[in-house]
Amino acid sequence: MTNNGLLKHRESALALVIVVLILTVAAITPDFLSAKSLLGAFNDTSMLMILAMGQMLVILTRCIDLSVAANLALTGMVVAMINAAMPGVPIPLLIVLAMVMGSVLGAINGFFVWKVGVPAIVVTLGTMSIYRGVVFLLSDGAWVNSHQMSASFIDFPRNTLIGLPVMSWIALVVVAMLFFVTRHLRFGRDFYTAGGNPTAAFYTGINVGQVQFKAFVISGMLAGLCGYLWVSRYAVAYVDVASGFELQVVAACVIGGVSIMGGLGTVLGCVLGALFLGVINNALPVIGVSPFWQMAISGAVIIIAVIANAKAEKAPGRIILRRAVTGVADVNPTATVAAKS
């Protein structure tokens, strides 16, 4: 397992900051501390969390996926249009369709990175424009409005189960699955090894390009899922859906401690990073801060978080002097340690 004291500290610190943030807002507007408010904030942040999970895998492998928002917009438009034209299609089927479509869009990214060798930032810059343009081509610029969507389409994520909306449950399930995969399956550890040291990973028989491909497919699949969730939640589908959202997703990961250099990051960290942004976004209107401040605060927060992470990540340097050596265990004293005269 890879837990070390430092990482745990960062996540605890972030959790603490979130709690302090909530309490501060509650001090100004006591209503914020209600279950309704807090759960509402969590629900609002669901999609950011889901997307951050996918982005985390991509960043772990030393890539970046700037096309997630465009992917979301495209899949969202497609399922909305299908629902408007054929309201009889069952929602679960639509969700599966959205995820499959999202995976294909992600696979296109992965293909160019793995097989053609184009850097991820260039590929996703390109597909970002292409996917969004396709939304326009499909819809001819028209919107799909709430009255065109079937009741079940719109209700599905809003239905509550034991007090939580289905959308929140979906987020929790996705997070739990990713948590399991990244800690307990070889498939998940491969993202860490391939990104942490691609050369060493190659020596242990891992196909780094293939792992990157898989990361993009998962990121795309989750973007597809969010495509349905978004258009259903806001009950509208149009070309500019989620415009600029990809940067929030990357920010959530970075705040959560995922290193852009690859190989470092946790599911918990990303969730906290997303919640951090989510609480801020929710809190501002509640305490009466004009929404115009939102962007500036987001930006400032990202910069501060990134600086804090960089300081925490700094390597301790080569350790040569005997007195500076770490990592020594409290072993059985009868074991003869390499004795020095």
Binding site: R183, R189, A201, A315, L321, V325, A335
Partner: protein, 501 residues
Amino acid sequence: MEQQDAVFSLRDVTKTFPGVKALDRVKLDLYPGEVTALIGENGAGKSTLVKTLTGIYQPDAGSIYFQSKPIIIGNPEDARQLGITAIHQETVLFDDLSVTENIFAGNYISKGFFKQLDWAAMRQRTREILLEIEAPLDHDALLRGLSIGQKHMVAIARALSCDAHVVILDEPTAALSHHEIQELYAIVNRLKAAGKAIMFITHKFDEIFAIADRYVVYRDGAFVGEGMISNVNEQTLVEMMVARSMTEPFPKVEATIGEPVLSVRDFNHPTEFADINFTVRAGEILGFYGLVGSGRTEIMQALYGLSKAATGDVEIMGQSVHLKSPADAIAAGLVYVPEERQQQGAIVDLPIYQNISLPQLNKLNPFGFLREAGEYDLARSYGERLQVKASSWSQPVNNLSGGNQQKVVIAKWLATQPKVIVMDEPTKGIDIGSKAAVHRFMSELVQEGLAVILVSSELPEVMGMADRIIVMHEGLIVGELDRNKATAERIVGLATGGIAA
């Protein structure tokens, strides 16, 4: 000894790179339950051979046989499946992962229907292996915080954790202390008893005679000879390695030793070195010897201005200097030929002439505008002086052989007309001809009044070239020996942490 069939054989294997034939129709046999020492100078082809065996390189010609069947090792995964495992000199592991995970990466223990990773079992097994090799490491420690010797232990533990038929140890003792080396021998003997074929690469003769059953000698990429260790002595092996008599290998010429050029007092770093004091004079070659990872390079890099945490007093030509960056050092007359030629020494994708002029652009072009004619002239004058072999001065440095690349690096620094030149493992990995050229050149430099600091892990080189030898061990200076009072036993003894001077 009962003659067994070789479990692993190479015949006529050739591997060529642009400009150099790394392996030339070589032969190799590895026998189960026996240790075969692969012996050869730098540039003999040993590391290329290891990379071929572990699937990183594919041979251009020849055949590889495993249990008498011809095989192809197309990639590292193939090598792993065949049970070939290697412990490299530079540990290639995952800094951000734990000791346990480093040992089991790619080779996890899983349980259950979903092939869930069984961390408990892996941790347990890690503890067992670590105990077996007596490495007092915490199985959850991150690799990043470990010392070089400890990282080596993890690499060895990793090799022990998989079921290997062939274990390759590539210079494994470079960073180990005397006691750790004995432990390593014990592990090797255990591997032998388990029937594994072991290839042990080293150039230290005491190790060869302590641990090996057989030997294979390579020279300049070609197979020279093989046999049983019991039938051979050191002199014969050396003759096979170098094919010339070893009487006067180093063109050491006496030079007049003048005033102190560089003086270092109370040089300290929180984790890398402590209490460093030394002086170098004009015309002198000061050798720094020690095991890999003993802190010599760290001191030189700190002197060169690359370390924020280092403290101390440094004087160049009697003037106190505060070197906070390489640019400061170069301006003060201290230049550094680094160990990593390709990452630090040169910018290999740029042409030769651009590399040579790089530190002096401001001096060459005071108004800021490039003048290629001037750069070509500079490259030609210093490149010819060092006898760089290239097809044109515009050739990217990457296309040159290792020896010529090193000459370009040295030329670059010479062109700045320095007072002190620090050379960190200057002949590592280059062919014999270029090696001799660099040595001869060093002698010329000190005759002209430069001071040279030679950091080297090659005992013959240090003993042959240096006027004084400073020995380091784990970040501290443990001895300073004059040329005529230095013996190999004393130097090595100090370097491995044994007796005091």
